[in-house]
Amino acid sequence: MKRISFIILFALTVVTGFAQLDRSKAPKAGPATKLNLGDYTKFELKNGLKVIVVENHKHPVVSFSLSLDIDPIYEGDKAGYSSFTGDLLRAGTENRTKSQIDEEIDFIGASLNTSSNGIYARSLKKHEDELLDLMTDVLYHPLFPQEELDKLVKQSLSGLKVQKDEPQAITSNITSALMFGKESAYGEISSEETIQNITIDDCKQYYNSYFKPNVAYLVIVGDVTVKEAKKVAKKYFGDWESADVPKHEFQNPVDLDKPIFAMSNKDGAPQSYISISYPINLKPGSADDIKARVMNQIFGGHGFSGRLMKNLREDKAWTYGAYSSLNPDEHMGYFRMASNVRGSITDSAFVETQMEMDRLINEDVDEDDLTLVKNAMAGSFGRSLEDPSTLARFALNIDKYGLPVDYYETYMERLEAVTSADVKEMAKKYLKPNKAIYLAVGDVNNIESLMENISGDAKVVEYDYYANKVARSGLPKGLTAQKVIDGYIDALGGEDHLKSIHDLSMKCTMSIQGMNLALNTYQKASNKICVETLMGDNVLSKQVFDGAKGSMFMQGQKQELQGDMLKEMEYQAMIFPELQYSELGYDLQLLGKDKLDGKDVYKLIITNPVKKETTVYFDAKSGLKVKEVVNLPQGQGSSVTLYSEYKDVDGVKFPVVMSQTVGPQSIAINVNEVLVNKGIQDEVFAN
């Protein structure tokens, strides 16, 4: 039997009497108070079950908590089976159906929760016998009925749908998978598929292998004497048979060697749920534990004093709350900072957080801040003792993690001893801004470019709920091919301006393999065209279309255009066919978003009524056409045209610098003159 007591250390000043009220100063603390940790009792049954008892008779309540101390298990293509086993434990026994268990528990106003790791039961003292009867029935005689598993599968499938909308759930999945690896106990994710693979035998197997007294703790807290507790433990848990329990090797994750920039989509989210996560090797109760907690508390601990809260909320008003947590673990722990921030400052919130990390790593914490945090932690420790189960938890930790028996007795002293040098050392060791996962869950249309602002050379990767990479279509919500075309028309000068153009002549120079050619194009509404290529004054070739008939002249030969070629000419002859794509019967398809010379572009396939496809790229920002690709017939490759410069003529933009590549051949085209509405004679288009 162990008894622990000590005194709160931060209350040293003694005030006597009540002096004249001086409001300008905060009153000093009264005489130090004693904080009595209380007693706990620990014993072990013959079958290896370790029992911890904390007596507390203030309220007529008693609780029994059974927990298994087993290795983390990788469940693979049946991920979720251990958790299902926990749920099914109370879904029917040899003696009671699930309905009977539910009714009997509710009848006494008690709670009975089962999980993969144990059973928790609590009731008023006067119902203790019924409670233990139910608890042990569930522990020893579960039936694992098939129909209950079927129900659970169905509910879990629906539950998954809800979870997929929750930024926290998305974050937990993606960061766990990236930190620990999807093929590991800590990183795997149960999915529609793995849930449906689970069988009753998997659950029975898990139950039969791991629910053994020699790997279990029974913690009894409340209105019970130690003597009673011993009797109860023996009576209800003494015959539970021990057996060897399988061990599992923990695979340590590979350290991140550089930051990862990730995002996940939540359509139309006004905020981004941002997080910074990475694994840390910090064991519960290790020498660094308290020091590292102090450091984390200064950085982003709960309450209002954390630097993240002061910076992101009180100073910038970007968020309602911003916190970080340091999670020690027997095998591998992790650090996580998280906050819901206004979507438009997703990048800045990360930058400020990084800055706060750097500040802790590089600068000393001032003594005032340190004292504040230490006192806040000491106070929190003191308040936690209001609940008698806290002491039971301490006793359990001492045994489970092999801590010194006076670990909690000396907690305050060790907390008090933490210096600002310790904090800096811990920051250097456990704050890793350069080896972290930066994840933003929000509307990816809005946050992608923000994430790119902070990702440097690294690519920003989108992940889905299952931590699978998402091929970025990158298209803004609601964007359609027609909207891209509308945007193009607007960018050129708007529908009205474009419609006001009745004729157009363009004079260009082309340079092909050192040869200089001139190219003149004449167009007249609604669909007349003449294109001539000249070398010096010699016309090398000429194509005309007068609205009905078309011809091609080459080296003095005339060829009348027929069939598809004629039809094709009809569309080429239009000055701005974009204005009437739908009436003409064009087919438009928006393929997605792409990058061209570092700029975002939308990619469309435009198919004209004679089924000729052109792939066209429009700059996402300016809306202008920047590239066109046409596949040539009979496997002759493709022709690629780049539009690199536009010029305004009478309120309408025309491309003036272009290049065209056909196979190995590249042609540079410069437009020297654009004339609009100057009146072109119909003879120009004569066949």
Partner: protein, 443 residues
């Protein structure tokens, strides 16, 4: 400045059950200062901590309809400091003393508390008296907190699946009563409010004659009294008129049905019925009726809809205990692929059974056992006991109501449960809300 508000569904559940007597009566002493401040002392020396809290009798229902969101906004502003407390220092004083603090706002009241090591009682009183006497209500604090509150609104209602169900429901249940406005208010009102509006609100409501101070925990009552006098007696009584809305909502004459679409995957089917205020005998009968429907896995809605018919993955039914006539709510999240109308019908079927048949003696005993258990657990934490005392004083002008609540529940009979099922769970008194995924929107 606070982080945790009581306006979430579960928190409301706790409030309705939390404000209770325990088996052993809660002992307390109370007195008034000359300026009208009501003081309640509750001594419990089992842990060396003390709870200092102030409940102001102002909630969102007291707001000017053109300046909504003020009560909650003040809950933020009141951490900005005072004439003697520099900006950002209010919480530092508490945390440095090893304490914790927060606040919350409801339709009916605003509540501030500190839990401190018991030798820091005087600090807690100084802080609360500074807040009451001359809190900083200035343009810097107002500007910052305006933005924070707008982010809070997004986080709570827009970025949380189903986060806006309460405000959607209340907006449909109430036509005239200020409960129809969300506690967080209309962001435009907060955005455009002038600094003077905030000053006026402070001078009206943050006065000793509109407040109740509770000190609970490891105290010496005589010394505590002396300290209260020292810090609070020189705070002047408020002179502005405090308006208390006394709007009686007209009875609803026919069912109200509505559908909203949100970015969620599964629909939620929700029904709300108007019920009496907290304190009314029928309130407790309705509360027990809710327990029959949805408390524990043996409850009727759970058993039928979730367990046996598997029509829903989640069901809930609970009352919102308000100072003026409130609402009881039931909702279900249908299992994937189940017709919404079918779920709604199945929910009514359970209510109809309660209207047509008395519950069994055993089920009735279960309700009593559950209430007893909840009462005992509700009085385990000092902070809960303190808040219950403050609430009962503020709502009923009677702190001793904490010791009478169990009797109120135990006075309910099986017949009462049937009677309230018939009286309040009528089609005419019902608001039905279909909260559907955007994907179910007919194009």
């Amino acid at each position: 400045m606070s982080k945790i508000k009581n306006q979430l569904i579960l928190a409301f559940l706790l409030v309705s059950f939390g404000m209770t007597a325990q088996m052993k009566p809660i002992n307390f002493e109370e007195f008034d200062l000359d300026n009208g401040l009501h003081v309640i002392l509750h001594q419990d020396n089992s842990t060396p901590i003390v709870n200092v809290s102030v409940m102001y009798n102002v909630g969102s229902k007291n707001e000017n309809p053109n300046l909504t969101g003020f009560a909650h906004f003040f809950e933020h502003l009141m951490f900005e400091g005072s004439d003697n407390i520099p900006r950002h220092e209010y919480s530092n004083y508490v945390e440095k003393a090893g304490g914790t603090l927060n606040a919350n706002t409801s339709f009916d009241r605003t509540y501030y508390y500190e839990v401190l090591p018991s030798n820091q009682l005087e600090l807690g009183l100084w802080l609360e008296s500074e807040r009451m006497l001359h809190a900083k209500v200035d343009s810097i604090g107002i500007a910052t907190q305006k933005k924070v509150v707008i982010e809070e609104k997004k986080e709570r209602t827009e970025n949380t699946p189903y986060g806006d169900i309460l405000e959607l429901t209340f907006d449909r249940v109430y036509k005239e009563h200020p409960y129809r406005t969300a506690i967080l208010g209309n962001p435009d009102h907060i955005r455009s409010a002038k600094d003077q509006d905030f000053v006026d609100f402070y001078n009206t409501f943050y006065v000793p004659n509109n407040a109740c101070l509770v000190i609970a925990g490891d105290i010496d009552k005589a010394k505590a009294k002396e300290m209260v006098t020292k810090y609070f007696s020189d705070i002047p009584r408020g002179i502005k008129e405090i308006t208390r809305p006394n709007i009686v909502e007209k009875p609803q004459l026919s069912e109200i049905r509505d559908t909203v679409y949100r970015n969620v995957q599964l629909p939620m089917i929700l029904q709300a019925y108007k019920i009496p205020a907290l304190g009314d005998d029928d309130y407790y009968a309705v509360d027990l009726l809710n327990n029959v429907l949805a408390k524990g896995q043996s409850s009727r809605l759970y058993k039928q809809l979730v367990d046996s018919q598997q029509k829903a993955i989640q069901v809930s039914s609970f009352s919102l205990g308000l100072q003026q006539p409130g609402v009881t709510l039931a909702f279900a999240i249908p299992n994937a692929g189940v017709d919404n109308g079918e779920v709604e019908k199945a929910m009514y079927a359970e209510v109809e059974k309660l209207q047509n048949e008395l519950i069994s003696e055993r089920e009735f005993q279960k309700l009593k056992n559950q209430v007893e258990n909840d009462m005992v657990n509700g009085s385990r934490r000092l902070a809960t006991v303190a808040e219950n005392l403050a609430t009962d004083y503020t709502y009923f002008n009677d702190a001793s109501a904490v010791n009478k609540e169990l009797d109120k529940y135990l006075a309910v009979t099986r017949e009462d449960i049937q009677r309230v099922a018939k009286k309040y769970y009528t089609k005419e008194n019902r608001v039905v809300l279909y909260y559907l995924p955007n994907s179910q929107k007919a194009n």
